[in-house]
């Protein structure tokens, strides 16, 4: 049974999508990821698609769904590494992934997650 590995990057989780996704794999990923967010108390998830040469509406929906689920579990999702040709095609296809944060690469993605976490902490501190 193949599944997409979920790695720990510091306090965040990293998922690297490299293979052709299909229904079962996508569902398994969502399952594994939500479990992992819960188990680790993670506040941030990075989805690396720099290896994907094509993203269709199925994968787009999967990413949006993951982002939604993570949000409910109080974690932020950042999509990183989209290739230019893929970005152009996605836009033409009609997908803009409005609820999903993006970054150029994993490093920037982590910066973004840390920044968001810091802001959240500052918020909490203020409220006390």
């Amino acid at each position: 049974m193949d599944r997409i590995p979920i790695l720990r990057m510091g306090e965040f989780l990293l998922v690297t999508i490299q293979v052709d996704m299909h229904d079962q794999l996508a569902l398994r990923l969502q399952d594994d990821l939500t479990q992992a967010i819960d188990a680790n108390g993670t506040k941030g998830v990075l989805i690396d698609i720099s290896a994907l040469e094509m993203v269709d509406s199925f994968i787009g929906r999967m990413i949006a769904d993951i982002s939604g689920m993570a949000r409910i579990l109080d974690a932020k999702t950042v999509l990183v590494g989209m290739q230019p040709a893929v970005a152009i095609t996605l836009v033409e296809l009609g997908l803009s992934l409005p609820g999903v944060a993006t970054a150029l690469n994993v490093e920037r993605g982590m910066q973004l997650l840390r920044h968001t976490r810091d802001e959240a902490d500052a918020d909490t501190a203020l409220k006390r």
């Binding site: 094509m54 509406s57 095609t89 033409e92 296809l93 009609g94 997908l95 803009s96």
Partner: protein, 135 residues
Amino acid sequence: MPTLHSSGELPLKSEHDMVLGRQMVRRLAQEQGFSLVDQTKIVTAASELARNALIYGGGGMLKWEVLLDGLKRGVRLTFQDQGPGIANVELALTDGWTSGHGLGLGLSGARRLVDDFELDSVVGQGTRVTVTRWK
């Protein structure tokens, strides 16, 4: 009048078939010298339509053709299934480009990614979608 240079067929009966189909379309587009963006567009359109045929059409067939029109080269893909057919074609095709959920059919999106688009569907009999991208 476009002439046929080469053609072939692939079944679309499983997820694995879809992967093979995508790879075939990518290869065809590369061989015909499409730019990277144009390759990506036709492969993505193929992915949408293959998924439709498989998931909504109960499985089907992909026929590919390389066409020559004068010195223009084109790749034509025909997706055929014997599924339930599309009841309201107009509705399936009209989808604002900002929304991402067009009845889950991805048809309107695929249409934007290709040059020529033809849809034939009979309720209870099946659907055939033919798309062409020219270099």
